[in-house]
Subunit: 213 residues, 2 copies
DNA sequence: TAGATTGTTAATCGATTAACAATC
DNA sequence: TAGATTGTTAATCGATTAACAATC
């Protein structure tokens, strides 16, 4: 197979396209030109056409793009068809928010287990799943083979649980801890969230407003 | 005043520098060269020196950078000295996680009020603050003048509450809703988080691993 | 002083934008 | 057919990297 490499600048914009096309579709719109889509998103039409042509010619000259089709294609490119069995590590407030409001199913993620080290939480139910004790993680993974893990635990525990999970076959991490998960295994991918960094950027913008703006 | 414009590529890296310098400081390290810092962060030394020189010469030839001083200076650049009175809109799981684990104080954010529309939550306490009914937001702001708001509510309510808050003097928004808050007022800044986009990028990386990797 | 390392200018690289021929 | 709009190549712009003189 081997799709040619697509730069991360392009990948970063795909979710934005996907979301906006979903909204247009919900509004009942059928087609859209790169010029109109650009206006709505604050991009240039050129950029949109370049981006999409990294993956194939989804448009039609003189017509534009079919919204439903393009939405579907971008979902494919983003890998939503692939079923990704997922475990959630941590069952605190953040973990619960993630479990409940992230629309996993539409993106191909299938939440199969929730784990915490706090005894008092074990047995409680979140989104229909029982919270399990973290000591049973090994056993659970050997039986159910999750490929993805979401880390909603304090930074101290992250490195060791990530290594444990890699041994158990996990290949993708969504890391919310205040810790840069850098992994040497080339067959493992990580998406670090770092909400703290986002808050710092907001702080900068506000301060910048005072100084200049 | 009017600092010269600094590109957002540079700003994006500042939190990373800040965090890492904080860790080095905690380890008791005193100085570091751009070469070593680059190795640790996976940047080039050139880039680090370029980035820092957007704001001034913090290093010393033949010596490198003083970790404590540089950490402090970057904190200043990021605007942590500025006191930012902040309200939290929404008191669900995500809002609570944010309130409890984000280290607001160290970044100059001062959480002064939490609001929700759910009657049953009113009076409950989060991080020592009572949850107030959203209908009292106006009154509260006219008395306490928050400058920053964190939006942890479903997308439907975001646009209207943001406009309300702008009228009440709020100038910075940290937006967690699944909605692109685009504001025409030039004196208002927004940091959109979009966790869903992050999950989509993870999905892409996992799928990409299957195809190529 | 000699060695190290910055600050800064110049060279390279990649991403964005513009232009236009192809074609629906 | 004429008009619209894509796909794609070429031009521009900005960000990253390399190089080196300044200097601690």
């Amino acid at each position: 197979m081997g799709k040619p490499y697509v730069s991360s600048s392009v990948i970063k914009r795909l979710p934005r396209y996907y979301r906006h096309l979903g909204e247009l579709k919900a509004e009942g719109r059928v087609r859209i030109s790169s010029v109109e889509l650009a206006k709505r998103l604050g991009f240039t039409a050129s950029q949109i056409r370049q981006d999409l042509n990294c993956f194939g010619g989804f448009g039609q000259q003189g017509y534009g793009y079919n919204i439903e089709q393009l939405h579907y294609e971008i979902g494919n490119i983003l890998g939503f068809k692939l079923q990704k069995k997922t475990v959630l590590i941590g069952a605190g407030n953040l973990a619960r928010a993630i479990a409940l409001h992230m629309g996993f199913e539409a993106k191909g993620f299938q939440l199969i287990g929730i784990f915490d080290k706090k005894e008092s939480l074990v047995g409680e139910t979140v989104k229909g799943l029982p919270i399990r004790h973290i000591d049973t993680l090994d056993e659970f993974c050997r039986e159910h083979f999750p490929t993805t893990a979401i880390l909603c635990i304090p930074k101290d525990g992250v490195k060791s649980v990530a290594e444990q999970l890699i041994h158990l076959g996990v290949r993708g991490f969504w890391n919310f801890s205040h810790y840069d998960l850098l992994i040497d295994h080339p067959e493992v991918v990580v998406e670090n969230v770092h909400l703290g960094d986002s808050l710092m950027r907001l702080s900068y913008k506000i301060a910048d407003l005072e100084n200049n703006g």
